[in-house]
Structure formats: C-alpha cells, structure tokens
Assembly symmetry: C2
Homo-oligomer: 316 residues x 2
Amino acid sequence: MILALAGGVGGAKLANGLARILSPAELVVAVNTGDDFEHLGLHVSPDLDTVIYTLAGVANPVTGWGRADESWNFMAALGELGGPTWFRLGDRDLAAHVERTRRLAAGETLSQIAAHFCVRLGIRHPVVPMSDQRVSTMVRSNQGWLAFQDYFVRLQCEPQVLEIRFEGIETARPSPGLERTLQRDARLRAVVICPSNPFVSIDPILALRGVGDRLPILKTPIIAVSPIVGGQALKGPARKMLQELGYDPSALGVARHYQNFLDGFVIDRRDAALAPAIEALGVRALVADTIMTGEAEQIALARHVIDFATQLRALR
Amino acid sequence: MILALAGGVGGAKLANGLARILSPAELVVAVNTGDDFEHLGLHVSPDLDTVIYTLAGVANPVTGWGRADESWNFMAALGELGGPTWFRLGDRDLAAHVERTRRLAAGETLSQIAAHFCVRLGIRHPVVPMSDQRVSTMVRSNQGWLAFQDYFVRLQCEPQVLEIRFEGIETARPSPGLERTLQRDARLRAVVICPSNPFVSIDPILALRGVGDRLPILKTPIIAVSPIVGGQALKGPARKMLQELGYDPSALGVARHYQNFLDGFVIDRRDAALAPAIEALGVRALVADTIMTGEAEQIALARHVIDFATQLRALR
C-alpha cells in the first residue's frame, strides 16, 4: 500500500497518476485541510475538492481549481447583490460546498463526506482529509497575521511571509483513514509526499500528532517529489515562501526542509545538477520528468516513484 | 400612500403595476414570509424574492419563481453528489439565498436585507417582509402536519388540507416598515390585498398582532383582488384549499373569507355574475380584467384598484 500526502494541483496530479496504476486497496490519498475555511457561511475544502475533482476527471484544467465546464452565474448574481466576490465559486463547484456544509451541520465528519463524494463521483481509491478536526493555516506576514485564503487568494501571496502557524493543530487528530494507514507500517510500500507546497500543503499534515513525528520511525521509505523545477514553483507561492523563510529557493531547499525523515527525493531533469547536494544530505535523489502536463505524464511519474520505493526498500 | 399585501406571483404582478404608477413615497409592499424556510442550510424567502425579482424586472416569466436567464448547473452538480434536489434553486437565484443567509448570520434583519437587495437591484419602492421574526406556515393534512414547502413543492399540493397554522405568529411582530405604514392610517389611500392565496399568502400577514386585528378599525378602504378567476386559481392551490377548507371554490368564497374587514373586492369579468352575492356581504364589487399577462395589464389593474379606492373613500 502507498500513502500519498497531497495538497492541491500538483498533489492531485500525482495522486491521479498513482490511482491509474494502483488498485483501490493499494493507495490512500491523505489531503491537506489546513486551507479549509468558512466562506459565505459554507465550509470550503479547496485541496480535498481539487484531489476529488481530479480523480473523478471533472477538474478544471485551465484554472487548476474548481470544475470543468463551469458557469459563473451565481458569482455574477452575488456581485449584483453586493456580496463578497473575491473568492470565486463556480456554479457546479458550489454544490460541493453547500452539500458538505449541510452534511457537517447534520453531524457527518469530513472523512464521511469525502467518502460519500468519492462514491458519488465514481472514485474507488480512498481520499481522506488529513483530519476531521478543524486546522487553520495562519500566515504571519509583514501585514500581520493573515488567514490563509486572505493571504493566498485575496492578497494573491503579495505579503512577505515571516512565519506559519496551524491553528487547532494541538488538538486535531489524524483522520481515521490516515491513522489506520500509518499504523499498517508493515504493509506500506512507501509514503509519497506529492509535489505540493511544503509549508502550507504538506507541513499541516506532518504537524498532526502521530504523523510527522512518526515518519522517522516508519520502516517504509519516505519519498518526496519536488514542487520546485528549475528554481520555479509550477504553481503557487512555494518558491517565494522558500526564499522568505530562509531556504534556498530550489529543489535543494525543499530537500533540506524534509531531510529529517526523507529517504528519497525526486527532482526534475532540469535540476539534475542538484543531485549530489541532495545526496549529501543523506537523501537518495532520483532524476525524472516531473512536469505532469497530462495523464500520461502523471502515470509515468507515478511509476518512477513506485520503482524508486522498491529500490529504497531493497537498500534498507 | 397605498399598502399592498402580497404573496408570490399574483401579488408580485399587482405590486409591479402599482409601482409603475405610484411614486416610491406612495407605495409600500409588505410580503408574506410564512413560506420562508431553511433549505440546504440557506434561508429561502420565496415570496420576497418573487416580488423583488418582479419589481427589478429579472423574474422568470416562465416558471413564476426564480430569475430569468437562469442556469441549473448547481442543481445538476448537487444531484451528482447525492444532495436533495426536490426544491429547485437556479444558479443566479442561489446568490440571494446565500447572501441573505450570510447577512442574517451577521445580525442583519430580513427588512434590512430586503432593503439592501432593493437598492442593489434598482428598486426604489419599499418592499418589506411582513415580519423580521420567523413565522412558519404549517399545513395539517390527511398525511399529518407538513411544513409548507413540503406540502407545496415536495408533495405538489397533493395532500388534502384540513387546517393551517402559523408557527411563531404569537411572538412575531410586524416588520418596522409594515408597522409604520399601518400607523399612518390618516395618510393611507388604501390597503390592497393582492391576488395571492388567501390562506397561505395573505392570512400569515393578517395573523400578525396589530395587522389583521387593526384592519376593521382603519379609516382607509381595504380592497382585495380575487386570486380566483372563473372558479380557477391562476396559479397554486387556492381553489383546492377553498374547497378543502369548506369555502365556495370561487371569488365569492374568497370574499367571504375576507368579509369581516373588506370594503371592496375586484373580480374578473368572467365572474361578473357573482357581484350581487358579493355586495350582499356588504362588500362593494368591481368588475375588471384581472388576468395580468403583461406589464400593461398589471398597470391597468393597478389603476382600477386605485380608482376604486378613491370611490370607496368618497362613499364613507
């Protein structure tokens, strides 16, 4: 079994590649919920939705979030009525937020709702939230403390990041699906950290008690795929954050961030020259094509990751 | 000044006719909120929205509810996710429910929200809810007690109605706009009861303390327009309810229902033969074209009602 830890777009793509070659019994995708937030009275789970939409084949390939074949009439009418329009919610996408909120109010957990959405959208692989308790990523910036979506969407990652905190992390527990998977260490072929933002997509998952602190003692190899290619983030503020938080703004900076528990690191061909420096950290480096433009590339990268896990197990 | 009491479609049409010929200082439209309900965690105000959309010129002329140029992608996606789809909410229409719910949660009253929506949609005449407190129309039927929208939409008015109750009516107060208008008796030219369902659109307004009990002592004429034409309701279950509740299923039955306070009753040409029986109740009858197929007919009927009010005042 493979446990994939995922954030939004990049995580969703690799998770989809893994799902195309592993059976539903061989893969669990645990998704960041640190950027969940209440908007318009609705519980919005951006990363969970991106992963679910991607695995269901209904993700919007242009925006990287929301649904394909989307319409925006709700948003237009909300603007007419003077409602807040800075966070864009498409008409189809909105259904997930309304239905999730309705089910949460009725006492269901995020895990139960994600499982239900998967069934409805024909996804057979388990997609679980990192936690059923609320964890909120907060960004301390040169403009003070900001809720994540304020920083990310409203201010478009403009403020300088000084510190990141996960509100509620002390009392949050890993979701049952994530907890159960980690406990089956003997059956795990690998933990795969998808190419998502280390600070705001992966760290919230790792910050949960019983997740990050358990990784160094797991018997299974832990492999990350770099979200930084050629010194650039493919999407989002990962590069800018690396720099602002004092890391090298490169795949090497990401490897350093994960080095305490990382066994293998997949970097792009463009970054092949960084391999020796990564290996010097005690982390095996694998060079591959990591830009997943289509499903073929997602599957190819997933195969590299699985083969890499097999090699790393053999080395132990 | 004219105070119009309105429910949904028929009420909205006459209110629109009145608004086209009266200045914003000469008209207050007070709207039934007894069929407001919580759906999908949202506060839905069907009659308020129908009146506001109609006055704003964005009402759906085909369905009689919701907005013109509507799309249904939210509903389709909600169905995919297994959410409840028996109550149809269009993508544009949904914005009103989400924004209303958001503002209610922030502490605004229904009156404030209606006033805000009117400003945003370019409506200059005051449209006020009957009350800012929750009143819920309940229908006792041969299938037991039903919430109004369960009866009206889900069960499509199929059950036999035995009794109607307005939950919360004892503690609800008329909204500030309705209260203020009623207190200006000396300035009122008429109270106009629009052609809406007497039992579930108008009675909830009249059942408010200080509204129905004040009508018989007002100096201004009280005029109703029959929602029944030729023994048929133009829309909705008014005819069926008249019958089930023991009234004559005709304009005469409606006149009898209102007879305690009614000064004048406008009936359709098709019902001219009922005029003597109506006048025998001590209610003046006016025969007119009451079917408002377009704005011209709305304005024409509004003129008849205003002229009728002038005559009735002269008779006092």
